[in-house]
């Protein structure tokens, strides 16, 4: 089910949480939602889940307007809110059955569906416990299970791995990736590595506006601009190497890295210095120990776009 957010504006008093926001998500796509605190990620997710109404604009899920048919839309959405609120006094099975029934899962299959979610989310050993007795990781699994109980076509996860240990994070990521093969998934996270590892596409939002949209790879390339290389040359005089590197026509800037025989080289726009450096070392009889491109990671892109 495709999601289409069209010119959505949301005001909280005088503060503009979303500013004419528009984007689309295709079926089977996992979209990572990035942005600093207060950027409007959660507000966007709440607007998609019909939890709050935008002041302007509309959101369509599979062509159905969220504003016009919220009940229909809610049945197609599984939502895991940021704080994952749960009824702590309820046993896991009862809670899942309760949410399933509210979502309109028929009586004939509710038991089957609850068992299925318990299996998928790895809750089998904990299924008879009260939710309040579970660890944070298992509570998160219960949250995910409740979001999936009615087999929704769209899954919206607001920081799904917050507070989990590394093993749990990897497990939940794998689960999301598995789910994302069939469903449309939007997930927000502060962990950029998680978005990079899980999502097909990244959307960076700042002050209610989209500032970047693309695959993690394309965003990195876009932000890269100039080629940056880390070069290690084994020569007697490192100042001699420095001067020779500076004289190469493709090189724009050379700098020492620490006190070692490593240099960081910035090439001129649209040019590559790799071949020239290699030839220079061969000509001068220097031993090239390292020639590595320095890539910008998503964190750099995020910082550049949101600072």
């Amino acid at each position: 089910m495709d999601i289409s957010v069209k010119n959505v504006t949301k005001m909280y008093g005088t503060q503009k949480a979303l500013d004419n926001l528009s984007f689309e998500v295709k079926t089977g796509e996992i979209l990572g939602f990035l942005g600093p605190n207060g950027a409007g990620k959660t507000t966007t997710m709440k607007a998609i889940t019909c939890y709050i109404s935008p002041n302007e604009g509309d959101i369509l899920l599979g062509g159905t307007s969220v504003a016009k048919s919220p009940d229909l839309v809610k049945k197609s959405i599984g939502y895991l809110p940021e704080s994952n609120p749960l009824y702590l006094d309820m046993p896991v099975m009862d809670y899942l059955a309760f949410i399933g029934e509210l979502q309109g899962v028929s009586k004939e299959i509710i038991e089957f569906q609850v068992q299925k979610m318990v299996r998928i989310c790895g809750l089998n050993l904990e299924k008879h416990k009260k939710i309040g007795e579970l660890s944070k990781g298992f509570k998160q699994r219960v949250g995910l299970a409740q979001a999936l109980i009615h087999d929704p076509e769209v899954l919206i996860l607001d920081e799904p791995t917050t507070g989990l240990d590394p093993n749990q994070i990897i497990e939940i990521r794998e689960l999301i990736k598995e789910i994302g093969k069939e469903k449309t998934v939007i997930l927000s996270s502060h962990i950029l590595a998680e978005v990079e590892a899980t999502c097909d596409r990244v959307l960076i939002i700042n002050k209610g506006k989209i500032v970047a949209d693309g695959t993690p790879e394309s965003l990195r390339k876009e932000a890269q601009g100039k080629e940056i290389l880390k070069v290690g040359v084994n020569a007697n005089d490192r100042n001699d190497v420095f001067t020779s590197l500076q004289q190469l026509p493709e090189v724009d800037l050379v700098s020492f890295v620490d006190d070692s025989k490593l240099f960081e080289i910035e090439s001129k726009v649209g040019m590559s210095s790799v071949e020239s450096i290699f030839r220079m070392c061969v000509d001068k009889g220097w031993f090239l120990t390292q020639l590595t491109p320095v890539e910008k990671n998503l964190e750099d892109v995020f910082r550049e776009l949101t600072k």
Binding site: Y51, P81, F98, E101, L102, V105, H150, P152
Partner: protein
């Protein structure tokens, strides 16, 4: 997505969950224990002095079962006094954290993300509490009836049974009045402690301070000794109307009239009006007519508080923590 085959109504699913939450909660169990204990205590005091209670020659003496609810040997208050005292506390305890605690825990946003109508939240909480209260009060009344049956060895008359049944309904309405007031506070105040305190303050005000205030007003406005009978009756009527702003007074008027068929009027009566009156018990229909304004006022207050809570809740923008 699974399309509905036999899909339960979300309203009743939520009511079921609320009932389950309520009956499992410690606060409810404590309150029920307290109500049960005091009611059984008052039943015991009533039965221990029962022969004295039915010795007299008033119009009420034939209604043995009604005596179980109104008579006491003096060591403990009677059943209706206990209900009038503890009923509001029960209502407040069931409603003071119904909405704000869910909002504080964030579960309100979770439920609202499901395909349900927003007003289901409030409606189901009220309905569930009302079902629990109704079960409790009907069970208590039947329990007293059952004990009476064992002790007296005769069944209640139809009139007695109906009076006790209507008394239970009035008790439920009275507790629902306090329940809705506390639900209103739970919508209005974000902190559960504040809403509980607000509810208890109003209960204390009407239980203790309101009577003192009315007495002060009565003393200040009391007519001088030599005034006409008409003026005295008017003054008494005024004071009585002031007292009727107290929901406890309305409940007492209604239940006393229902359980004591000899009561023929709830207002001041002149000697002329009582001359010639036969000291017979009132038929149930007449007793009902007598208490109709009181019951209507209690129902009206209940609906008013619910309407205010409903409006506040529907207009509020709920943001998660």
């Amino acid at each position: 997505m699974y399309k509905s085959q036999t899909v339960s109504n979300p309203f009743w699913i939520m009511v079921g969950k609320e009932i389950s939450d309520t009956v499992r909660s410690w606060k409810f169990l404590i309150m029920v224990g307290l109500v049960l204990l005091t009611c059984l205590g008052s039943l015991y005091t009533s039965l221990s002095d029962f022969t004295e209670a039915i010795k007299g020659a008033s119009a009420d003496e034939d209604f043995f079962f009604l005596k179980l609810f109104t008579h006491s040997d003096g060591s403990m208050p009677s059943y209706i006094v206990f209900v009038s005292f503890l009923g509001p506390l029960l209502g407040i305890s069931m409603g003071f954290d119904s909405v704000n605690s869910e909002q504080n825990k964030g579960t309100l946003s979770r439920v609202l993300a499901q395909p349900i109508y927003r007003d289901y939240i409030l409606n189901t909480k009220f309905t569930a509490s009302l079902i629990v209260l109704s079960s409790l009060f009907l069970a208590l009344s039947f329990l007293v009836l059952g004990f009476g049956l064992i002790f007296l060895g005769i069944p209640p008359t139809a009139d007695e049974f109906l009076r006790i049944f209507i008394f239970s309904i009035v008790s439920i309405v009275y507790v629902a009045f306090w329940l809705n007031l506390s639900i209103l506070f739970s919508v209005k105040f974000r902190q559960t402690a504040t809403s509980a305190l607000a509810g208890i303050s109003i209960w204390l005000f009407f239980t203790i301070f309101y009577n003192i205030i009315v007495n002060l007003i009565a003393k200040g406005l009391a007519p001088v000794r030599f005034v006409s009978e008409n003026q005295v009756v008017k003054f008494q009527g005024f004071i009585q109307n002031l007292m009727r702003f107290n929901p406890g007074q309305l409940f007492n008027d209604a239940t006393t009239t229902l359980l004591r068929p000899s009561i023929r009027s709830l207002g001041p009566l002149t000697t002329e009006q009582t001359i010639g009156a036969i000291p017979n018990p009132l038929p149930l229909g007449q007793s009902l007519m007598l208490v109709w304004p009181q019951v209507t006022a209690l129902i009206g207050g209940t609906i008013l508080f619910f309407a205010i809570a409903y409006t506040l809740f529907m207009r509020r923008e709920i943001r998660s923590r």
